[in-house]
Symmetry: C2
Subunit: 336 residues, 2 copies
DNA sequence: TTGTATGCGTTATCAC
DNA sequence: GTGATAACGCATACAA
């Protein structure tokens, strides 16, 4: 295999100069640089990343910690990270944690992970006290994209405002009896997207002077399937049932809509449905929602990380992302 | 930072022994191994992967090349790879290529990529001759998951059979005039999933002695949105229109169904719709399809790679994945 | 601007 | 079963 010494010999220079030339560092005359680049290409020289990492201490790799990769928000976000990284010679190392089950497994890996990456991008998920503590202990640029984590900088929408906005939209339409489909029963977690979205809902309802019947609080897990199941439970509620339902995510809202149609419940005539996220399928079925752009958020977070690595201290900091109410056909005034 | 020498010194042994002990190699007495492991833990020792890579030549990282990460098949597949890797101490390096545009960009990166990984898992996509050639030149275990690539081992369903099966299901129901929603206009590519799925369709139609009107061949790009648009074009076809439509993917079929409902076209009374893939939302809306499991396929492919790396030559080889016709409510006999 | 020399932290090959 | 030591391939002070 051709190494830096071969290039140096062939170009009649030292390895130090080759190193500088290849990496585009200053202090290399245009002539020698050109010559080196040419011979390097000719010999098919490719630097050994392993050696480079060892010698420089930099991995040129950023890690992405995600609870899922096959769910809307995370897929979009990972895509965004990748887009920023490529072309800049950075690699993306993916670490899937798997939902809320066995988060312990990682406590050890974390230490290993740390030596494999220069910076870490965390995608919103449920974290316990201990894990948050571990995160704080990690000594490298770190940003979270999505839900807020106490003490860490994050790029994401204001989830409280999002659910409050979408709920008030229903109230403005005249709804007085609204059900809620939570993202998860996480009453034990203090900081998490599902919880915050729930609070926005409650505050909107109470602020409007309305009552919320605890029996109309349903729980799902952000999947379409759980939305389907939620609607079935909704139909078991005693009459008069709520005239609208706020879903903590578009994916669940879609499930609710699908099953409603199947059961002959008309939307929005019989039931208004809203979600949060801006899932592409929502547009196709006319779902009213609060839109956000996970890809853009992830790109922004990645750029912060890169800047920080580039020496720009303070580049990583909290930043609110764009969000927008999009009214479509799944909402209308209640009929009764 | 604590290195292997610190551990060796503290444990009163040589670095060589520490190395063996830590990696679980033989030729270390139980006693010394226990002692070493204990002091290593005590000192918080974590091996430097960079140094290990340099010395051993192995990266313990497998690369995943994907055209998208935020699309159903790919998200599921990446998830599968990750699941197999974690726990075995392997890392997952993700390389997003981006659809069919600028595939050239990679030709150089490929060489760089090669030194960063021990094996490569390719997710089905469009490849030109040149790229296939490059792939063959790569000297490491390589497997493709999804569509077949000439000369390379792949794990995936029989796409020809899938589309043929789904088309024959419609023919069996009595449909004589069937439209096709291609995954893409890729008449210039010889081997790709969309093309193969198209062939299965044509063969089924011709084998049944039916005619296919070229005007009823529509084109999409596997997204829900393109399905929506395809239905609009479908409605512009002169009467009598086809009584059924075969979509090259569930995502497109979903788009077709959504827009059909919006336009007041009843499914399956006015139009039968079928897809291929087994997308979760298909179940929620009653879409008839040919199911497959990308996660399982990716896990299988990953395991082959790992076996091959483990010295089991010939572990990587072509393997057909499970597929199954699932009849739901989007199909029925034609009314005319 | 360019060259020299040392260090980076393991792994692996021998001996013992 | 254990130890000494030479690679591994590049980055980077420091010197020229």
């Amino acid at each position: 295999m051709v190494g830096i010494e071969d290039v140096a010999a062939a170009a009649g220079v030292s390895t130090a100069t080759v190193s500088r030339a290849i990496r585009g560092l200053p202090r290399v005359s245009p002539r020698t640089r050109a010559k080196i680049l040419a011979t390097a290409k000719e010999l098919g020289y490719v630097p050994s990343s392993a050696a480079s990492r060892l010698a420089s201490g930099k991995t040129r790799t950023i890690g992405v910690l995600a609870p899922y990769v096959d769910r809307w928000f995370f897929g979009k976000a990972i895509d965004g990270v990748d887009r920023e990284l490529h072309g800049r010679g950075y690699n993306l190392s993916l670490f899937n944690l798997g939902g809320r089950t066995q988060p312990r497994e990682r406590l050890f890996s974390k230490a290993m992970v740390q030596k494999q990456i220069d910076a870490l991008l965390l995608l919103c998920m449920y974290l316990n006290e201990e894990e948050i503590e571990d995160l704080h202990a990690i000594d490298m640029p770190l940003v979270v994209v999505g839900g807020p984590v106490p003490g860490l900088s994050n790029v994401g929408i204001d989830d409280y405002q999002a659910s409050r906005t979408i709920t008030e939209h229903l109230i403005d339409l005249g709804h007085r009896h609204i059900a809620l489909l939570h993202g998860q029963d996480d009453s034990d977690l203090n900081f998490s997207v599902p919880r915050i979205r729930g609070e926005g809902f409650y505050d909107a309802v109470h602020h409007a002077g309305l009552e919320f019947d605890p029996d109309t609080a349903l729980f799902g897990d952000f999947t379409v399937k759980s939305g389907v199941e939620a609607l079935r439970r909704f139909l078991e509620l005693p009459e008069p049932r709520p005239t609208a339902i706020v879903c903590a995510s578009d994916e669940m809202a879609l499930g609710v809509m699908f099953e409603a149609r199947r059961r002959g419940i008309r939307i929005p005539e019989d039931l208004s449905v809203v979600g949060i996220d801006g899932h592409e399928m929502g547009a196709a079925v006319g779902l009213t929602t609060v839109w956000q752009d996970p890809t853009a958020q992830a790109r922004r977070g990645t750029r912060m990380l890169l800047s920080e690595l580039g020496g720009d201290e303070g580049a990583v900091r909290p930043e609110k992302a764009e969000q927008r109410l999009i009214v479509r056909e799944s909402t209308a005034p209640p009929r009764r």
